[in-house]
């Protein structure tokens, strides 16, 4: 019997949703397991790091890593798996673009610790204990992974061959990616394995989008009763469909929610947030400076909204140091 190709899964800084997305393959996972050997998958299999280290270089056909790089352990595991794998695939928004967890790059490392271990109203920490990377307990040295200053994408740490976008990716895309690996029909290296056109092209509400959209106020979903059969933008609701890669089967739109951008920027766009700012601004129906201020004030957290999934991969990657007006 010929040897089956080996596949590995690993998670870095993630919520676990990408692991779920593999399980969402449902019965199709049986076809995958039939075709491959899963040699490493911490969430489901008891395989130790040392077992991975013992594998030969390039022995794993493809490794899917989800989650962003937050602690030094993520970095060393990414390096190890890169060495052991022929193909390294970034799985999900966090590995691809930094994801929601990279919004932490708007805060300094110290501020994150102070907030988390002292300032949160539900935290009681009278001794002022903060995590540190090592401590001696009963004569034994105990070590914790180090917390990096910023969150990085997977490809800011190791070379990545392909990207499966989404928060989380659809089971269809994961299955298609794995089958493409097995059947040796992958596109050019570095490709994002989804649509190349924006979400709007496949949006079920496409027909209701008028020729021109003019917005006097950006509205939030709770503020009014919106019409689920009409284009969100036309109703003044921020939808990032025009600047977001398609391929998600318009899951959010189908669930009456606007696109929040998890499939990331289109090819040839570096900064999805800048593009979001650009297209939304152009829809504003005013050229009066005071009115413009009022309209832009109806987006309370523009950077968080536009860079929700892509801050670590954006041009500035996070807060620029040296803000004098703080």
């Amino acid at each position: 019997m010929p040897k089956k190709p080996k596949i590995a899964f690993y998670w870095c800084s993630s919520c676990g949703g990408c692991e779920e997305s593999i399980l969402d393959l449902a019965e199709d996972i049986l076809a995958v397991v039939e075709a491959v050997d899963i040699v490493f998958w911490p969430v489901a299999l008891d395989v130790k790091y040392k077992d991975v280290a013992a594998m030969g270089d390039g022995e794993i056909t493809a490794t899917l890593i989800n989650g962003a790089i937050r602690i030094d352990e993520h970095e060393s595991m990414a390096r190890l798996l890169r060495q052991k794998s022929k193909l390294l695939i970034a799985h999900g928004s966090c590995a691809h673009l930094g994801g929601v967890v990279s919004l932490a790059n708007f805060s300094e490392r110290e501020d994150i610790f102070t907030r988390l271990y002292s300032d949160v109203p539900t935290v009681k920490n009278p001794q002022g204990l903060f995590p540190k990377s090592g401590t001696i307990d009963s004569g034994n040295y105990l070590e914790l992974p180090g917390f990096n200053d910023t969150v990085k994408t997977l490809d800011q740490v190791v070379e990545v061959d392909y990207y499966i976008p989404g928060c989380p990716p659809t089971p269809e895309l994961i299955k298609e990616a794995i089958m493409a690996v097995l059947e040796d029909r992958l596109p050019e290296r570095g490709a994002v394995l989804a649509e190349s056109k924006a979400l709007c092209h496949t949006c079920p509400l496409k027909e209701s989008k008028p020729e021109t959209i003019r917005i006097k106020k950006f509205k939030r979903l709770y503020e009014f009763e919106w019409d689920p059969s009409r284009c969100f933008l036309e109703q003044g609701i921020v939808c990032l469909g025009p600047v977001t890669r398609g391929g998600c089967n318009a899951r959010c739109i189908g669930a009456n929610m606007p696109c929040s951008g998890c499939f990331g920027p289109l090819d040839n766009v570096t900064d999805q947030g800048a593009k979001a700012a650009s297209f939304l601004a152009s829809l504003i129906d005013s050229t009066d400076e005071e009115e413009l201020q009022r309209i832009t004030a109806s987006i309370p957290d523009p950077a968080g909204l536009f860079y929700r999934y892509s801050l670590a991969s954006s041009m500035l990657k996070g807060k620029v140091a040296g803000n004098k007006s703080d």
Binding site: T270, A281, I284, T287, T296, P302, K319, V320, D326
Partner: protein, 134 residues
């Protein structure tokens, strides 16, 4: 840091503001050498990515200079710039880039004094703020 000289990148439209800067040059007006002019056909062409890239590559301040309202060679390109500016400045503040580091102004082909004035004021206020990456 007293000897700090800021780098200011300016995006100037071909029809009004670049002409205005040229007019200032022809009239031998003096403006700060901190200013680096980038000519674009219209301020409506200034993608927010250009502004962000300028800051990333080391600019301490960025200016967009275009035709006065109503004077745009392409009718409303400068209004598009104004709207993008209104949104983008809020985004940049969240990145820690002060509002004074990013300005938009209208300079006509004949506004040589105004050109010198806005560039000088911008340079002075950014010099006061200090380097973006301190």
């Amino acid at each position: 840091m007293n000897d700090f000289e800021p780098k200011i990148v300016g995006f100037l439209c071909n029809w009004c503001s670049y002409e205005g800067a040229d007019a200032a040059g022809r009239a031998r007006k003096v403006y700060p050498a901190n200013f680096r002019a980038v000519k674009v056909m219209c301020t409506g062409r200034v993608d927010p990515q250009f502004v962000i890239k300028a800051f990333r590559e080391g600019a301490d301040g960025v200016m967009i200079l275009g035709c006065h309202p109503g004077d745009c060679h392409y009718k409303e390109g400068n209004f598009q710039a104004l709207k993008r500016y209104a949104v983008l400045r809020k985004v940049l503040v969240q990145f820690g880039i002060d509002e004074e580091r990013f300005r938009l102004d209208w300079i006509s082909a004949g506004d040589k004094e105004k050109f010198v004035d806005v560039v000088t004021k911008m340079t002075d206020s950014v010099r006061q703020l200090g380097p973006l990456r301190g």
